[in-house]
């Protein structure tokens, strides 16, 4: 356990000393600034005309969801970009050799790195998620319905993406790993939209296709579940968007994502242990 903690801490320290985390935080701050301005403009516009408080609340809650969706996307991209190189790059450069010959098993080494990245993701998501809510609340007074559920689901979504970069990182080079995992994110994104479309078109085939996509990569379904948890029921039904309540992933989908994570991590550990370094 001590060695896992050592590797996790060094991974966290690596994230703090490299520019990417700070760049991502800066990008988050920039988007938050734009978000705050947009919200403010919206509020001023609402004040200039007679607007029903109910409609006003629904629109502002919808805008909060846009902010949180941006926060979610940034977190997933940060997760993938920071972690694609950690195993793949260290294996190809030979950096891992000096560490893998220490009294630490390969599964401990992998889990230490994984936990370190999870720590970084949690810090990033907690900061950007809460900052988004704080900005929205200070400008509009609107709060999400179940913010803790939403926060945990977004973190979970990032962890799914992280597990994929770790698994493919034990097989492929950094670049190939990145292409595969970003491709899988695209599959998940498409799956989410297909399920939304199916809610309108009632096409069984599209539903099946959407479900299969979500089974291949369940990360997007976690976002849709998070959106469902955080928004007002009416706001969810107002629009055709990545946070509409047309097709809500069930609790089974969340459980499936948990099983998926365990399987992917298991494969990553098995293959990392079996391969030559």
């Amino acid at each position: 356990m001590k060695n896992i903690a050592t590797i996790a801490l060094v991974t966290l320290r690596e994230a703090a000393r490299r520019k990417i985390l700070w760049t991502a935080l800066l990008a988050g701050a920039l988007l938050l600034g734009i978000f705050a301005i947009a919200l403010r403009l919206q509020v001023v516009e609402f004040q200039s005309r007679a607007m029903s408080p109910f409609v006003r609340y629904q629109v502002e809650a919808g805008m909060l969801m846009i902010g949180l969706y941006t926060c979610d996307l940034l977190a997933v991209v940060l997760t993938i970009l920071t972690s694609i190189d950690t195993l793949a790059g260290e294996i190809s450069s030979g950096t891992i050799q000096a560490i893998a010959t220490k009294p630490i098993s390969r599964s401990q080494l992998l889990m230490g790195k994984f936990i370190g990245f999870v720590g970084m993701i949690v810090v990033y998501v907690v900061i950007t998620f809460n900052a988004t809510i704080a900005v929205a609340y200070s400008v509009t007074g609107v709060l999400p319905e179940h913010p803790l559920h939403g926060l945990l689901l977004i973190i979970f979504e990032c962890i799914i993406a992280l597990s994929l970069t770790f698994m493919f990182g034990t097989w492929f080079s950094t670049l190939t790993n990145g292409v595969i995992v970003l491709g899988l994110q695209a599959v998940a994104f498409m799956g989410g939209w297909l399920e939304q479309v199916s809610g309108f078109s009632q096409s069984g085939h599209i539903v099946t296709l959407g479900i299969v996509s979500s089974l291949i990569n369940p990360s997007e379904s976690l976002w849709r579940r998070a959106a469902y948890e955080m928004q007002t029921p009416l706001a969810g039904s107002l629009s055709f968007s990545p946070f509409a309540n047309v097709s809500i992933p069930s609790s089974t989908a969340v459980i499936y994502a948990g099983v998926y994570l365990c399987v992917v991590l298991g494969i990553a550990i098995y293959h990392f242990d079996a391969r030559d370094l």
């Binding site: 030979g94 000096a98 893998a100 220490k102 098993s105």
Partner: protein
């Protein structure tokens, strides 16, 4: 196969195949404890793959190997192993001190020990002035030095060094030589893979010559110096009969015009050889001794195999 306590490393028919390429054909090796052991061979002979198998980085296709009595790859025994990989690379965002601390911590050192030992070992490799600098700005030579520091920080019982002097200037090489001798004097075994024959010659106690993934010969370098003496005799009128008679004392006899070269196992036989040559009518103008360099030995051994 069960390991012997006499040896720090034992391998038996260790074999590694990558696809259709046989990297190590059947490595059988015994490295006595407390020696500096050189591992020599031409490029592609399978030296690095062999080291990686000994350390558990590469899984052997077949065969057995033991390090300090434990099967290669055993996690716990690694507390007693140090390793400097070829082209040492590490997290370059760490400072020199942090890097050595991390390796020491992973090897099981306590914070108290780290506080004392890390500055010591950084000074030993001549990087005290750079201890708080990030490794990112280090030259190749400095990386080799910090790599060596991380390999010995926990005072291991065996140290594997893969080309430790590449990138080092002459002073750096001298430093590495002194450190390796100090490690041996402390009781550690040093397994040195180097392409620098002169480096191996002056540093190692024993050397294994590896070719095509097999050990073709192991030599005690101290014994080579003491026992095998190459002699050059300046002589006229040396008959064929006189040359033939030399085989009683000498081997690898070459005659080149008026110069006679041969190898003997002991200087004690030289007077008998001289008497034999004079008695057979040769006029002797000079006798000189030349040591067989490791380079010559290397060429001789590698040349014996016609597949080279």
């Amino acid at each position: 196969m069960s390991p012997s306590s006499e040896y720090a490393i034992e391998t038996h028919n260790l074999r590694k195949v990558f696809g259709s390429h046989v990297a190590v054909r059947g490595l059988s090796l015994s490295v006595p404890r407390g020696e500096i052991f050189g591992f020599l061979g031409p490029n592609g002979a399978g030296k690095s793959t062999s080291i990686k198998m000994l350390l558990g980085l590469v899984h052997p296709t077949s065969g057995d190997s033991f390090v300090l009595g434990a099967a290669s790859g055993d996690v716990e025994i690694r507390r007693r192993i140090g390793f400097l990989p070829e082209d040492f690379r590490f997290y370059d965002w760490l400072t020199a001190t942090e890097l050595v601390q991390l390796h020491g911590r992973l090897s099981g050192m306590t914070n108290e020990k780290l506080r004392k030992r890390v500055p010591e070992v950084i000074e030993l490799v001549g990087l005290s002035q750079h201890e708080d600098r990030r490794v990112k700005g280090f030259s190749k030579g400095m990386l080799q030095r910090i790599g060596l520091a991380q390999a010995i920080v926990h005072e291991p019982d065996i140290v594997f060094l893969d080309e430790p002097t590449s990138g080092l200037d002459p002073m750096g090489r001298l430093m590495v030589r002194d450190i390796l001798r100090a490690e041996r004097d402390r009781g550690a075994t040093v397994f040195l893979n180097s392409h620098l024959l002169s480096e191996i010659e002056v540093t190692c106690d024993r050397v294994a010559f590896i070719k095509n993934g097999e050990v073709v010969e192991t030599r005690d370098l101290n014994a080579v110096v003491a026992d095998e003496v190459r002699v050059v005799v300046d002589a006229h009128n040396v008959s064929q009969q006189a040359v033939a008679g030399l085989v009683r004392w000498a081997e690898r006899i070459d005659v080149d015009r008026e110069r006679l070269r041969f190898s003997i196992r002991s200087r004690d036989v030289l007077p008998d050889i001289m008497r034999h040559l004079v008695a057979s009518g040769a006029d002797i103008f000079g006798v000189a001794q030349e040591r067989v360099s490791l380079e010559q030995t290397f060429v001789t051994i590698m040349g014996e195999d016609t597949s080279l």
